[in-house]
């Protein structure tokens, strides 16, 4: 009961702050788990007229180029591809990994690359589809370490890992004007609060947030107070998990095995320093995944515009008509944490 009272007070205070600001706010959340939490808790209707929620490019599946999928499909005739389930249905230019598997491609779903390495046979020809931000990068680094320890010679990593800072800079610089940013809690547990200091230069209220509904409300309160106070320092509302310096051990693993590289982000294009690749000294465990990122299959899909906040999922001509979680036409509909998928499941509202 007390919790309900506190929640009601919080909501009232957020709305009251926005009334003092005198206009509705644009708030972008970068992480797919936040997107789901916002829609699942009905915040899009609770704050209707007060906050316009925009989903940014923080879902690793959604920002992946079809060229990467095409390469994996090609390789699956010879190698066993280990992938996270979310990547299965991402459309390549001709087929998805799921369709490739149906046609005899050797594709296995993994839940943890570290566990998967434990069960590998000595001579098994395996490629790990390494996709994700700094949250999953340490797990792939640890897997690589185990592969080296076990002396497995036929295991490679198809590295498409991303970093969060460079795409966020590009987004704020070139694509969007927002009043507040909800920063990704999972990534922050690894890289720490200090790694987000660069956001302060954009004069945008920002806060590292947890994922429960209550966490999101605390973060919205923080954003509205910062706007009123014109205080643009990065706040941490996820103190129970996120430290100033982050997870030093996890960061150490990333630094030991990976280095920065350019990476393609759907909606943002090629971002220098936006990705991670395996260091040269371990290159025998890396497989060449180069693809032409200037080529995109012609499609009416507007994923790129959704990811940069230019349109809402329901404004895409394909949304719900031909693009659904069952037959996704774009990556944002594939992942359970993609903007379109989250909107499809939880965000739909009367007349839109």
């Amino acid at each position: 009961m007390r919790y309900k009272m506190q929640t009601a007070e919080l909501i009232w205070e957020i709305k009251n702050n926005i009334e003092k600001i005198g206009r509705s706010l644009k708030v972008i959340e970068v992480c797919g788990t936040h997107t789901v939490s916002i829609y699942k808790n009905g915040f899009h209707t609770l704050f209707e007229g007060y906050i316009d929620f925009i989903s940014g490019p923080g879902c690793p599946v959604c920002v992946t180029h079809e060229g990467y999928i095409d390469r994996l499909v090609e390789l699956s005739s010879e190698w066993t591809i280990y992938t996270f389930g979310d990547l299965l249905k991402v459309p390549g230019s001709s087929k998805s990994l799921s369709q490739a598997r149906a046609n005899g491609g050797k594709i296995k779903v993994m839940y943890s690359p570290v566990d998967a390495v434990e069960h590998l046979e000595n001579n098994e020809k395996v490629i790990f589809a390494a996709v994700g931000f700094e949250t999953t990068a340490p797990a792939f680094a640890l897997s690589l370490e185990k592969v080296i320890e076990k002396g497995l010679k036929n295991v490679k990593f198809a590295c498409e890992l991303k970093t969060i800072d460079e795409p966020l800079k590009s987004l704020l610089q070139n694509h969007i004007r927002v009043d507040g940013i909800i920063l990704p809690g999972h990534v922050a547990t690894v890289i720490g609060v200090d790694s987000f200091k660069f956001v302060e230069g954009f004069k945008v209220a920002s806060v590292i947030s947890g994922f429960e509904g209550y966490d999101i409300l605390l973060s919205l309160l923080s954003i509205t107070q910062d706007i009123l106070n014109e205080d643009f320092t990065v706040k941490n509302e996820y103190k129970r998990v996120v430290k100033k310096e982050g997870n030093v051990i996890a960061k150490g693993y990333i630094e030991k095995y990976f280095e920065r590289t350019s990476a393609f982000f759907r909606g943002l294009g090629l971002i220098p320093g936006g990705g991670l690749k395996i260091k040269d000294e371990f290159r025998e465990y890396s497989i060449d995944m180069s693809y032409d990122n200037t080529k995109q299959k012609d499609s009416l899909c507007r994923c790129a515009d959704v990811l940069t906040g230019k349109i809402k999922p329901f404004e895409c001509p394909l949304f719900e008509k031909v693009c659904t979680p069952i037959s996704p036409k774009g990556a944002c509909m594939v992942s359970q944490e993609g903007s379109c998928n989250a909107y499809f499941r939880y965000g739909k509202w009367k007349g839109r």
Binding site: T7, A8, I11, T33, Y39, K40, N41, G42, F43, H44, T45, L46, C59, P60, V61, F84, G85, D86, L87, L88, K89, V109, Y111, D115, V131, G132, F133, T135, T136, H186, G213, L217, T324, P325, I326, S335, Q336, E337, N341, F344, R345, Y346, G347, K348, W349, K350
Partner: protein
């Protein structure tokens, strides 16, 4: 250890031995023992209901039940929520060669146990054996026959109207969560117990004491899908309060870990009922005798959008849609 062989399905001596040595003694029905091509029985009723269902669950033994128990409960429950008293069941088996006979015995005994609990008789059956790899262990089809005891008591979609309330008979999502927790790939150590159970006794008691406007058992697609079907068929809107929907902590935890949604997880021993407000106290009194988690979860509105709306704990509202997708694990 003995295993099912192709010969068990060829209609000859070994088929005869399997039927007379395993199925008939366990099921124990006099009608079945006659071994005729059709089972003949009396159903003294103006209205008779029939339902059929196939069961392909994997694993076929799970915490709180097995494919045999499920095949009886599933069919009994389909009859019960239609307002019928289940009387007779048929059972057809498709078995993969190499299937352990000991497992088959366990499954058949479990069917008999739950048929007895539900008060139904298994009166006909069939067995087919297929080559290794043609089916995954064992598939069962059951067909059930039930009778209507009081026609005016039959629940019907036409009886649903605005102002009525929605009741759920217990906590949701246990069966789906149970099957997920058994998935070897996920490495969930503590298995969740399925809610698989026959519902005909509780429903029978309800029908004798209160007016149940409509009922639906929660199976594949879970609570959300069942409510959407009701909203569509009855052309009404249904409002559900998140805070009131009973979900156990273990199911919640599994959903959090795997990125599942409890509203869409299957149940095999739960139902929703639409009743008039004045019947609430009596209905819950009866339901709580069988499951203390039974409670009111929402209400019906005559707004005809044919939607299900969820009032969230924080005071927001969102549309609770039908299950539209395969639940895949999260990437991060």
């Amino acid at each position: 250890m003995k295993f099912i062989q192709k010969e068990h399905g060829n209609g000859g001596k070994q088929t005869y031995e399997l039927i007379n040595g395993l199925f008939k003694p366990i099921f124990g029905s006099e009608i079945l023992k006659r071994g005729d091509d059709s089972s003949i029985f009396d159903l003294a009723s103006k209205k008779i209901g029939v339902t059929t269902d196939s069961f392909v669950v994997k694993p076929y033994f799970f915490k709180g039940g097995d494919i045999g128990k499920l095949s009886v409960c599933g069919t009994v429950n389909d009859l019960a929520v239609s307002g019928l008293v289940p009387k007779y069941i048929t059972a057809s088996f498709i078995i993969e060669e190499g299937f352990p006979i000991e497992d088959l015995q366990k499954i058949v005994r479990s069917m008999k146990e739950y048929a007895d609990i539900a008060g139904v008789e298994i009166v006909a059956g069939d067995t087919k054996v297929v080559e290794k790899g043609s089916c995954d262990g064992i598939f069962i089809n059951t067909t059930g026959f039930g009778v209507c005891e009081k026609e005016e008591r039959l629940p019907s979609i036409e009886k649903i109207k605005g102002g009525q309330i929605v009741i759920v008979s217990g906590d949701i999502g246990r069966h789906g969560a149970c099957i997920y927790s058994h998935s070897s790939e996920l490495g969930v150590e503590e298995k969740i117990e399925s809610d698989c159970a026959p519902l005909n006794r509780v429903i029978n008691e309800l029908l004798k004491n209160v007016e149940i406007c409509y009922m639906k058992d929660l199976t594949r697609g879970g609570l959300a899908t069942a409510l959407n079907e009701i909203a569509q068929k009855a052309s009404v809107d249904i409002y559900i309060e998140e805070d009131k929907v009973p979900v156990s902590n273990e199911v919640k935890a599994l959903c959090d870990i795997l990125g599942l949604d409890s509203y869409y997880l299957a149940c095999e021993g739960r139902f929703v009922a639409v009743i008039n407000k004045e019947d609430k106290q009596k209905t819950l009194e009866i339901l709580k005798k069988y499951n203390k988690e039974a409670c009111e979860i929402g209400w019906i509105e005559d707004t005809k959008e044919k939607r299900v709306y969820l009032k969230t704990s924080f005071g927001g509202t969102r549309i609770l849609d039908m299950l539209y997708y395969e639940m895949l694990p999260r990437i991060c």
